[in-house]
């Protein structure tokens, strides 16, 4: 169980985290979503007692993390996988972790096997790929068999196998009744793994609900239509008050419309259609709809283009 209450962090003029409150319950994978710079990492660092909140509190299993005597047995966390001494071997990195928390040394070899680090564990971390560092960080997080786990962008740098492995791992950890908080900006990834989503933008809470609720609660669908006479069709749709935009030479997309409406319009104008479909509402769309106004580092492209 993680309880965040009124958490705020200010860096000079920047309000990195702004009065954030949410709970992360056991037995679920909770996705922590937000655009770049939204404050996900800062929030996790404050939960772990690394950064001092400007105000507010964060409790893990009812206690501040910094008061724990054997933190690895209660909370495992993967933050920046590059934050390790490159001159040490992966194995001695983990041995130090075990020693500091009174964890038997044989656990080190168990987690090395579990994350698939294998023989690389005896090499210096200097030579590790990002994916291997990621696995080493996860090994350290699992070392004490903790009830609470925090992962900051764990699929970063992993290949397809690795991504699938993480997905399974998160699911398994939650099914074992553990509390799992995982941040990501791979939105489709969260759609597949997270039961709940805590969405933030510019340090503020935007949504805190189940993934399904967030997907469902977002406006009407979109329709995609293709026709060789798309110019006429576009004009006709707009005449009838439908918000159509061109997405390709022969392709249009209609916001807030149904395939039924579009079919009727085309028939009335006697325009042949080559394709007509509902565009599945993806988390990407939901996410952009939610965070659209709080994206700090938006590119110059229009939002609709970014969404695809």
């Amino acid at each position: 169980m993680i309880e965040v209450r009124g958490l705020t962090k200010r860096y000079g003029d920047v309000l990195a985290v702004d009065d954030l409150s949410f709970d992360v319950a056991p037995g679920t994978v909770t996705g922590f979503l937000g655009p770049n710079g939204a404050g996900k990492s800062t929030t996790m660092r404050m939960v772990l007692g690394l950064d001092r909140p400007t105000s507010g509190t964060a409790l893990v299993n009812g206690r501040p993390f910094a008061s724990l005597a054997e933190p690895l047995r209660e909370v495992g966390a993967l933050l920046d996988p590059g934050s390790v001494h490159p001159g040490r071997t992966g194995r001695s990195h983990l041995r130090i972790a075990a020693r500091s928390n009174g964890i038997p040394q044989r656990r080190v070899d168990e987690v090395i096997d579990q994350v698939g680090l294998g023989r690389a564990a005896r090499r210096r971390i200097r030579g590790y790929s990002l994916g291997m560092r990621q696995r080493l960080g996860i090994a350290a997080a699992l070392l004490g068999n903790p009830r609470v786990l925090l992962f900051d962008e764990p699929v970063n740098g992993l290949d397809l196998d690795g991504v699938r492995w993480i997905r399974g791992l998160l699911r398994r950890l939650a099914d074992e009744g553990r509390t799992v908080l995982v941040s990501s900006h791979l939105l489709s990834e969260m759609q597949q793994t997270a039961d709940r989503l805590v969405v933030i933008g510019r340090g503020r809470l935007i949504a805190d609900a189940t993934t399904e609720e967030i997907l469902r609660g977002l406006g009407n669908g979109r329709v995609r239509v293709r026709s060789s006479r798309s110019e006429e069709l576009l004009a006709g749709l707009r005449d009838r008050g439908l918000a159509a935009t061109r997405t390709d030479v022969d392709e249009l997309e209609i916001e807030d419309g149904t395939a039924h409406d579009v079919g009727e319009v085309a028939n009335a104008l006697r325009i042949p259609l080559h394709h007509l479909s509902d565009v599945a509402q993806s988390l990407e769309d939901a996410y952009l709809a939610l965070t659209g106004s709080s994206v700090q580092f938006a590119g110059s492209e229009p939002v609709a283009e970014v969404a695809r």
Partner: protein, 258 residues
């Protein structure tokens, strides 16, 4: 949740943290390099000094001279060792996992300081002993090796390196940068104490007299004008205590590594 069922005493956590710190220190090359550098300087110079001792002056001088004289240059390798125990964790970002494993900052600071000082001071005493033995053996009959003088010499080396490494650790926690802390240590321990008096102004000499390097030099080789044993010990330990206090404040109050 079995772990929270029984409470673990702070003493137990401290002991575990010290064990982890000890492994941390010796599992990277830097620590071993600094130790090797100190060994080469102390045993090497001790051997050379012994072999050049005047053979006609039969057993006049104690070989323990080698311990304190060679510790003067070699202390810097040991101070660098103690300093990098602290700063390498900041340079590599390793402080992030460190504080995840030991989030009680005062306890971490105490353990890290204890391990760094013990390693530097322990090595200094061992190498001081080796240096004197090397000089004694290389000198044939020319040097003496009286035990009471030995205890004196080893005690002095231990005091100087303990004080210096405490200063280095404190500056490491305070400045969090290897380069910055090394420069500060060299300025306080070597450059300023020797440079300031050269200008000939009395106030500059007075400043030099309260710097830790003047104290260390007087205790190890004597011949520092204006210094006494008492003023030397005061300067050395005062600076060490001050640096540790400031370092602890930064460790305990600031964000982990930003």
């Amino acid at each position: 949740m079995t772990a929270t069922a029984h409470d673990i005493s702070a003493g137990r956590v401290f002991a575990r943290t010290c064990a982890a710190e000890w492994t941390r220190l010796w599992s990277v090359r830097a620590g071993r390099w600094f130790a090797a550098a100190a060994a080469v300087v102390m045993v090497g110079i001790g051997t050379i000094a012994g072999s050049e001792a005047d053979p006609t002056a039969v057993r006049s001088e104690p070989a323990w001279m080698a311990s304190t004289v060679t510790a003067m240059p070699a202390q810097f390798a040991l101070l660098a060792l103690a300093l990098t125990v602290v700063t390498s964790d900041y340079a590599t970002g390793g402080i992030v996992p460190t504080l995840q494993w030991t989030p009680r900052r005062t306890l971490l600071g105490l353990a890290r300081t204890a391990v760094a000082m013990t390693a530097a001071t322990g090595l200094a005493v061992l190498l001081a002993l080796a240096s004197a033995l090397a000089a004694y053996l290389a000198a044939g009959q020319a040097l003496d090796l009286p035990w009471n003088a030995g205890l004196d010499a080893l005690g002095t080396v231990a005091l100087v390196v303990a004080g210096g490494s405490a200063l280095a650790v404190g500056l490491g926690f305070l400045l969090r940068s290897t380069a910055g802390a090394l420069v500060a240590v060299f300025l306080l321990m070597l450059v300023l104490p020797f440079l300031l008096p050269v200008f000939g102004y009395s106030w500059m000499s007075a400043v030099a007299a309260v710097l830790p390097g003047s104290g260390a030099a007087f205790l190890l080789i004597g011949e520092v004008p204006g210094m006494t044993t008492a003023s030397s010990v005061t300067a050395l330990l005062g600076w060490a205590g001050g640096a540790l206090l400031l370092g602890w404040l930064r460790l305990a109050r600031d964000d982990a590594n930003r």
